[in-house]
Amino acid sequence: MDGSSIGKTAWTALITAGFLFAAFLATLLVTSWGMNWGAALTLALPMSALAQGIAATARFTCQSNPLGRKESWRIAVTHIVAGLVLAFLWVGAGRVLSQWIDAGLGVSGTYKDYLALQGHLYGVGFSYYLLGVAFHYMLFAQKASQEAQERALESSVRAREAELTALKAQINPHFLYNSLNSISALTSIDPGRAREMCVALADFLRLTLGMGDKALISLRDELALLDKYCAIEKVRFGDRLTLQEDVTEATKRCLLPPLLLQPLFENAVVHGIAQMPEGGWIRLQASCDGSRLSVTVENSWDPEAGSSRKNGVGLKNVQRRLEARYGREAQLQATAEENVFRVRLQFPAETEKSQ
């Protein structure tokens, strides 16, 4: 159900309620307060129409006072004040009307009768407003739950897609081919190191493939994977790659989607270090202030090296995965300064204990 059909429901409800209320009011005026039917209906129909206005007004007061976002007493006070003001206006309008029926239409006594029962009518008007409030809160709740369902469905589909592309993109085949070429070179030059590199590559693959079916892993595990990755790249690039890590033990307990940072490292290597003959560095910083985890991956880069970042598939992928998991609570910022490329991620912190 979309917004416009909810509007239609509300209108149908208001009009139906209008006629029912008019009948109720006229009956009340005749049976309890002895007004004659003609005068009672003449008074009740327009007053009922006005009462519908009061109920419709509740839509706006409800909209600006959504339940659960403000303190309850504030909401209550707002509605009581609004209800009293509207009831007062409504009864006032009725008084003018009854005066007109009395004098203008010549049904004498209507005004006097009205003045006698006006005290009760304050109560009726006020209650009617509250009825309108209840009705609209109910509509909003229904709409919100529908939206939440749709959102949940949509985000789970998106999350799944993002996961799949992420995993497919995770192992860059050229990384594998180049690593295997390094092993091929090492077999005769330095068999011991060739074996080490085989093991490092196997560890990296095992960790990568094993993390795929987990929703969250600890930062410590992600760092272990990154260490393997860098160990392999260090064999390829030698002194050209230096690595700095600044992460406290406490922060390492924070959780994050697996392989979230690995594409950032891969970008740093491919677009940064690999483009600089004299080499470069990657710096990882992570901190947690209790509610938010922020991770910064920086690398040196040469803006003139010609490797443009425009096809930032890795970066987009990270962004999609963050959105799928944390929605608007997550931020990704990528900035290119003169010689430093920086990606900063911020998202809600969850720790191993809270899971």
């Binding site: 070429n181 390094s182 091929s184 070179a185 005769s188 030698g238 600089m276 003959p277 090296a305």
Partner: protein, 254 residues
């Protein structure tokens, strides 16, 4: 280079040390091949090629700053057999477009390496292409050049196309003007025009190709000719067809 006594001079080009060592090891059993130099970057190749005049080039594609294809634009191709050695298979077509002898995918076997070497020896260097064909072949299909590589002696300059003010044809060369400096490149102006985005660069004259963003205004010059005044004050002649093209592009822009 057909005689049995002839030694082949080879250059090994790869930014990864281990990859270079692997090629050196595989060449160790070929005394007829002399490794003249190992190069870790495209810039080094330009120097080494001028110095050693190699017959054979083992060339990586993805390297810092200059790619393997850029390197081929900058060195004397005459008499050089090129074997690409890369982990990326997507450049294979391009490699043959620039008349490479073979294309080795990393990691490769000894047999595959021997086959490539055999091919180089039996075929010798293929006909060298001119710079126009080379740069057209080496840029990705459907994309325009983002930078132009220029060599002055052994010094290599990369000119981002956004910084290129205009180019002037000088016989077999073009003079590329960027940030107040002139760079000569052995290429025809038509060849250059082919690799540049036609929405950004206009051929305003038989001898001039201008960066549209540098054109400040067009003024009459003499009786019925025009000149384009650039933002830095330089005046360039505009031909009649050049004027039509220029006006059309400026209209599209506004």
């Amino acid at each position: 280079m057909s005689g049995p006594e002839k030694k082949w001079k080879a250059l090994i080009v790869d930014d990864e040390e281990l990859a270079r060592k692997l090629l050196r090891e595989m060449l160790a059993s070929h005394p007829e091949i002399e490794i003249a130099a190992e190069c870790a970057s495209g810039m080094e190749v330009v120097k080494a090629a001028a110095e050693h005049k190699p017959d054979l080039l083992f060339l990586d594609v993805q390297m810092p700053k200059l790619t393997g294809f850029d390197v081929l634009e900058l060195i004397e191709r005459e008499g050089v057999a090129v074997i690409f050695v890369t982990a990326y298979d997507q450049y294979a077509m391009k490699a043959f477009d620039v008349h490479a002898v073979d294309y080795l995918l990393k990691p490769f076997s000894r047999d595959r390496f021997e086959a490539a070497l055999e091919r180089a020896k039996s075929q010798g260097p293929k006909k060298a292409l001119d710079a126009m064909e080379l740069s057209a072949a080496s840029r990705p299909a459907g994309q325009f050049a983002e930078r132009i590589v220029v060599k002055d002696g052994t010094k290599v300059t990369l000119i981002p196309v956004a910084k290129l003010d205009y180019a002037e044809a000088l016989d077999d060369y073009v003079s590329l003007v960027s940030e107040g400096k002139k760079h000569l490149k052995q290429q025809t102006i038509s060849g250059l025009e082919l690799v540049l985005n036609p929405g950004l660069f206009v051929r305003i004259h038989r001898s001039y190709l201008v960066n549209l963003e540098r054109v400040a205004r067009i003024e009459p010059y003499g009786k019925d000719s025009k000149v384009a005044i650039l933002t830095n004050g330089v005046k360039l002649p505009v031909s009649r067809t050049g004027l039509t093209r220029l006006k059309q592009l400026l209209d599209e822009k506004n």
